[in-house]
């Protein structure tokens, strides 16, 4: 649905002496139709540029961005406008028109597209119903809460019936409870309308809750890409590890603990099985729990425990864990 082919974006130097500033360098990635794709990175990592390349608010200085079969840079003015009607966008600060009512804001993209008045009216009512704001149609944005404003933003982004929804830090200005509700709504759009969603964020928690796949950006480069499960449970890059630790709290390993250190990762049903006890009884291995986390990735429960194994048959214990569908990472420590 969306493909980045070795995309670079360099901004012209602001002063004469400084060279250009590279916001993105050589980024290649692809987003499949119907998936929720997260892009995570610290501020200045290039996320904002990346998402704006998709609807042509920015143009690449190198490489190609292909959206729904079209090379964005090769589209003419009209082609770009047509593309933008197929790509909705919501923003961190909502960007609603303060002088227009909720209904007028939602109707705005339809009016821009020159749709007949009767259709605009019906579609606006339908969209407000979907985001639960029918009762607020006549209010101005300043009279709404942050969560309500983002709902207006979502209704407005959906107005022209897009296939793709871009979320530019859409929950970063919201409190945790409202964030939850907005993410729920966005997930629902993905499930019910089959929307392809690209969201950029600096919060791993947002990625964990709604994304299928995630790309990690650092300094304009793609440092890691994969399923949320893989990146979250087994982050390969330092950047991804930092984001995971931020979201989860660090798994601390007490220094000087004896035994073999292993990290067990349980996924899905295995999370709820009494695997630890069974294996300990069968192999005579004792374990002490040094750290751990139990949570949910979208709908999948998972657990991750760091253990020190002592006594008994450690090798057999590891084999049994693996047989039970638990991933075992050997963190070293004293061997058997």
């Amino acid at each position: 649905m969306i493909a980045f082919e070795a995309v670079s974006k360099t901004y012209a130097a602001l002063s004469e002496k400084g060279g250009g500033h590279a916001a993105l360098s050589g980024v290649s990635l692809s987003v499949k139709a119907g998936e929720v794709f997260g892009v995570i990175g610290a501020s200045g990592a290039g996320k904002s540029t990346l998402i704006r390349l998709i609807n042509g608010l920015e143009t690449p200085t190198g490489g190609r961005v292909v959206v729904d079969g079209d090379d964005v840079a090769a589209l003419g003015v009209e082609g770009l406008r047509a593309l933008r009607r197929r790509v909705g966008m919501i923003f961190q600060h909502f960007n609603l028109l303060s002088g227009k009512t909720v209904a007028q804001n939602v109707a705005f993209p339809l009016k821009l597209a020159g749709r007949p008045a009767a259709e605009v009216k019906a579609r606006t009512a339908e969209l407000l119903e979907r985001v639960g704001l029918s009762a607020h149609a006549g209010k101005f944005p300043a009279q709404l809460s942050g969560g309500q404003k983002q709902r207006v933003g979502i209704a407005r982004a959906l107005a022209t019936g897009p296939k793709i929804l871009l979320c530019d830090e859409a929950t970063s200005a919201l409190d945790p409870e409202t964030t939850e509700q907005i993410l729920e709504l966005v997930s629902g759009l993905n499930r019910e309308l089959g929307l392809t969603i690209v969201l950029i964020t600096h919060e791993m928690d947002v990625v964990r809750r709604v994304c299928d796949r995630v790309a990690v950006l650092e300094g304009g480069r793609l440092v890691e890409e994969g399923s949320v499960e893989d990146v979250f449970l087994h982050p390969a890059s330092g950047t991804a590890r930092r984001f995971v630790q931020e979201a989860e709290g660090e798994i601390s390993v007490a220094p000087g603990v004896g035994g073999r250190l292993v990290r067990l990762t349980f996924k899905g049903e295995a999370t709820y099985k009494p695997v630890l006890g069974e294996v300990a009884r069968a192999t005579g291995v004792d374990y002490s729990i040094l750290g751990g986390r139990i949570h949910r990735l979208r709908e999948t429960p998972y657990g991750q425990l760091t253990l020190a194994l002592t006594g008994g048959d450690v090798a057999a214990a590891i084999a049994q864990f693996q047989a039970a569908g638990v991933r075992v990472d050997d963190l070293g420590g004293e061997s058997v």
Binding site: R81, N95, S98, G99, L112
Partner: protein
């Protein structure tokens, strides 16, 4: 109050209002597009053009730096060419507009700069044409600022109309100069000044009320 001729003061008030109304309408018609172009050709804006922006900016600065009394006199040949006379209400309007339009244009430019860039970006992201962004988002979002700019300009025009009395424009300012100042008729002076003060006060109140009405921040 023995010098006061109320009929003459009434006529002078009407003349002032006519000069104000006529020049205000033309100032907005000329100054608003000028301000919009100044804004749009500015750095980082959608029609960024250093040359056009620099030229317009220079023109505005030149016109704004000429003292209005001088402008009144320098403009006389042009005024005659435009409206056939340099006297009376009609003769006052061209210099009033030339004096006020650049001033209003700068205020318009400032009001447009206050518009949230995110709203403009969002409009483009929705597939708006430039014209739709300007007419549908930029100007409506700047409306409270534009009304405030028009109010300030109208008040400035009131004092300009008083000055236009110097070149025979008529109106309250003319009365104040001819009778109040040149003939030492202090009572006429006081009445005209009070009337001008009331006019300014009323304009400001109307402007403020409209700003409150159109502002939804």
């Amino acid at each position: 109050m023995e010098n006061i001729d109320w009929a003459e003061i009434g006529q002078a008030t009407l003349d002032t209002l006519a000069m104000l109304g006529g020049s205000m309408v033309l100032t907005i018609l000329l100054g608003l597009p000028l301000g919009v172009i100044l804004f749009l050709t500015g750095k980082g804006q959608m029609l960024q053009n250093r040359l056009a922006n620099g030229a317009l900016s220079l023109l505005v600065n030149v016109l704004r730096s000429v003292p209005f009394v001088i402008l009144l006199i320098v403009m006389i040949p042009l005024t005659v060419a435009l409206v056939g006379t340099s006297l009376g209400v009609a003769g006052a309007i061209p210099p009033l507009v030339v004096g006020a339009a650049p001033f209003f244009a700068r205020l318009v430019e400032t009001a447009l700069r206050e518009v949230d860039k995110g709203v403009i970006e969002a409009s483009f992201a929705m597939g708006a044409k430039r014209r739709q962004v300007v007419l549908g988002a930029l100007l409506p979002e700047a409306l409270p600022g534009l009304v405030a700019a028009a109010t300030v300009t109208a008040v400035a025009l009131v004092s300009y109309t008083a000055m236009a009395g110097v070149v025979g424009a008529g109106g309250l300012g003319d009365l104040a100069i001819r009778f109040g100042y040149q003939r030492f008729q202090t009572d006429v002076m006081i009445v005209t000044v009070v009337l001008l003060l009331v006019l300014v006060q009323v304009l400001q109140m109307i402007g403020d009320a409209v700003v409150r009405r159109v502002s939804h921040k």
